[in-house]
Every structure is written in structure tokens, then in C-alpha cells.
Amino acid sequence: MKNIIVACGGGIATSATVASKINSELESRGLSHKAKAEAVDIKSLELFMRNADIYVSITPTPKAKKEEFSIPVLNGIPFLTGVGKDEVLEQLLKLI
């Protein structure tokens, strides 16, 4: 079971929206037993990252910063705007 985390300012609104969208995409592909997305608070990101396999970020993350993280970082903004969503989803599915 892969643990996907989505972080936003409070772990309540934006992140929960994206997590919910990812989960329903997984469900519709019959993959909900292989991975699950969870909304977390960005202020405690390091804490949550210890138990996570993939980080979906909804703040623009520079490449240098991405390399600091120990797990793969994906861009979550397409899940909100719809633009480029298929590409990100494909990247995500490859990782699980």
C-alpha cells in the first residue's frame, strides 16, 4: 500500500480536495487497494513525509528543492485546474 500525501496550508481544504480527487481516480481504476492519498498540514510536512511514499505538492516546488526530498514529488496543481491533469495522473500511476 503506497501512501500518497498532499499538503496545503492547514491540511483541510485544498489538500483534502486534491486527495479526494486522487482517491476517486484510483478507485475508478480499481487501484484503491494499492495506494491512498491523504491530506496533511504543510507545517508538519517533514513529520508526515517519514511515512509517505509520494508527495503531491500544490505549491510550486523548484527542482533543487524537489531533490532535497527523499520521496518523489509531483505537481498537484493540475488536479485543481484540470490543465495537464492526465500527464500528472500518468506519472502518479507509474509510481504505484
Binding site: 485544498t14 483534502a16 505549491t59 485543481l80
Partner: protein
Amino acid sequence: MELIASVFQSILDLGAAVFLPFVIFILGIAVRMKVGKAFSSGLTLGVAFVGISLVITFIMGNVGAAAEQFATNTGIQLRALDLGWAPALGLCWQWQYAFIMFPVQIGINLILLFLGWTDTLNVDMWNVANKIFTAFLVASVTGSAVVGFAVAAGQIVFELKNADATKHQLHELTGIPGISMPHPMFLSNIFFYPISRLLDFVLPAKSNLNATNLKNYIGVFGENHVMGFIIGTLIGLIGGYSVGAALMLGIQAGAALTLFPLVSKLFMTALTPLSDAANTFIKKRFPGKEIVIGLDWPILAGNPEIWVAIILTIPVALGTAMVLPGNSVFPFGNLMNVCVCAAAFMSTRGNLIKMIIISYLMVPILCWSASDFAPMLSQLALDTGSKLPEGQLMAWWGMDIAEIRWIVVSAFEGKGPAFAGLVLFAVLAFFYFKWMKKEEAVSLSHLEAGA
């Protein structure tokens, strides 16, 4: 007819936690969700409601009671405990007219898009609650939900116009094209932007602080459980608890601040499938039209300046609250106050010194407005099943657009100075949108030079 009315009334009487899941289920079926999924979404909302009440009752029983001891021990009468934005907006969804705000926001947005008066499509459904809160406050003082909704409608229009008026700046700041931010907090920039410009005269040119370094040192204090623990323990110690009891209070406070997000995010889990359906419906009707997607603020949350300014405001907020005449609020749950600092991040273009100054200037206004609104919020909490200790109120210190809401609600209460505030707001808003045109042109030229 009478029969229908009485059926409706008896469903309403069941309470929001039973009634609204039912509404979500029906709406889900209407937008062709699977029955099981619609049922699950509806129930999740009911679970969120009960969860919020549970945590409010828990925290008010522990930290609220300790704040009472604190008052007795020190003579500082802060009877309204700030629980933060998650429970406040969570309660708003349970206001009896809350869900009417969905069609109101979507309807106004569609009309403005059709008329070409906006290019923003606001897909941020969580912050519908921020309009509900405005409507609720105005309805509480005027006794009329219609007036409340009229003011909220005005807020929706302002939010969309502001989102349009800042989209190139947002593109430059975040590097993401095609988005805007119709979040109400950015309306505070009508006040913050002129302050930021005035500060240019006072501050030496190009003065700034390195936020990344600072955040590495103090970032840990911004974590919910850490901050809850520190503040909770302090309240206990000053309230005359034994060290052991004060530490236990600290852990309880940390637990409450950690639990609020866990229950509040269930709202979005329940509402996302519905808002997806609504958005698909709208986008289908605007094929080929250039639409900017309006998002919530956290796309800015990766900027360390915001967190540093917030954390450096905490001691000032606590100190001010203790001594400020007319304040009755104990800032606690919302000490990590995004609403001022994230907005100021935009209007100062990330200048940390200016952000901190603006944040300090806002502290008294946040205290007074929260004190005024605490009785209304507490009534809503009591009406929806939370329990508050005798004599204690629940508050939301640091709400979004505190200054504007305070001016508007006070004007409806007939308070004289509020009318001067309305005039000031109108004048500054007029100039703000002119200034934004210039800022947009600057950002656009930067973007074109970069591309």
C-alpha cells in the same frame, strides 16, 4: 401544502448533522453520482459535523476552563477563547441557510462570466464557507438572512474582481499560468497595498530579511501540536495549575489543534465529488472561452516569508491581547494566522519586513473584531450541539478580512465610526483597482521578457 411544510420542518428539526447528509445524498443523485458514493459523501459530512462539535466541546472543557482560571488568577478578563478558522468555518456549514450559498456563488460567477465582467471561474468550494460566515454575521445583527446574502453577494463580486485584477502578479509570483485567487483574504490588500507603498518612504530601499534561514530556526513553533502544547502549558501555569496538570493541559491543547484539521478535512472529502460535477457542468458551457481558474491561497504556502511573519506575530498578538482595552479574546487556535500574512505577501511582493509591520498593525483590529463577533459564533456553536463552560465564549481571532467585516457589521449595528470606515474602504478600493492595473502591467512586462 401544509403537509409538505410540516414534513420539511420535521426534517429540519432533526439537526444539520442529519439533515445536510440527506441534502448531499439527493444532490449527489441529481448530478448522477453512484448511489453508494452519494450515500457515503453525505454521511461523511454528518461525521464531520459531529466531529467538530466533539473537538470544540473537548477543547472548551479543558483549555476554556483553564483560561477561566487564568482570568481569576491574573485579573485579565479574556472570556472568549479563539479556536481558529477550522471550527469557525466548520460551524458555518451548519447555519440553517448555509447551503443556499452554493447556488448563489456559482450563479453570480456564471452571470459575470457570461457578461464578460470576470474571467475567473472560482472552483474553491471550501471558501463558500467564508461567504456563509459573512452572511451569518450580517443576519445575526440585522435579523434578516436576505440582507446577509445580499452582503455576501457583494463579497463574491469583489473577490472575483480582485482575482482578475491580480492574476498576472500571481503568475509572476508562482510561475503558474491560468490561475487567480478569489480568496476573500486578498481583499485586505485594499488596505495593505497603500500601507506597503507608504512604508517605501520609511524603510531603506531593498531592505529585507532572509526568510528561509529564519524559518529553519523557528518553523517548528508553527506546527499545530507544538504551538498548542506551548500555549496550553503556559495558560495552565499562569492559571495556577500544578506543573503536571499544566503539562497535561498542554498535551490536550496540542491534541485539539491537531484534531481540528483531521475532522475539518472531512468537509472537503464530502463536498469534492459535488463540486467536481458542478465545475464540469460550467466548463461545458464555456467551450473555447479563456477562463482563469480561481484557487484557494495555499499555492502560496511554500513561501517561507509567510510562515516567518506569522510566527513572529504570535508573541505580539498574545501580549497585545492581555493589555488591549476592549479586547475579550484569548488568541489561541488561530495564532498561525494566515489571513493577514498571505495577503500581505501579495501586496508587498514578499517583503518580509513590510509583512511583519502590517501584521503587527493588524493585531488590535483582529482582537476587537473577534471580541465583537464572539457572542454570535458562540450562539451558533451552542445551537449546533457543542457545549461551552459557563461564562466562556468561543471566538475566531484573525478571521479573513477582519477589518472589512468589522466595518460592515458595525455599520449595520448603527455604530457611527463604522460609516467613516465604509467611506475609507470605498475610496481606497477605488484607488486600489487603479494601482493594480499598473502592477499588472509591470508583472506582464516581466513575464513577457522572461518568455
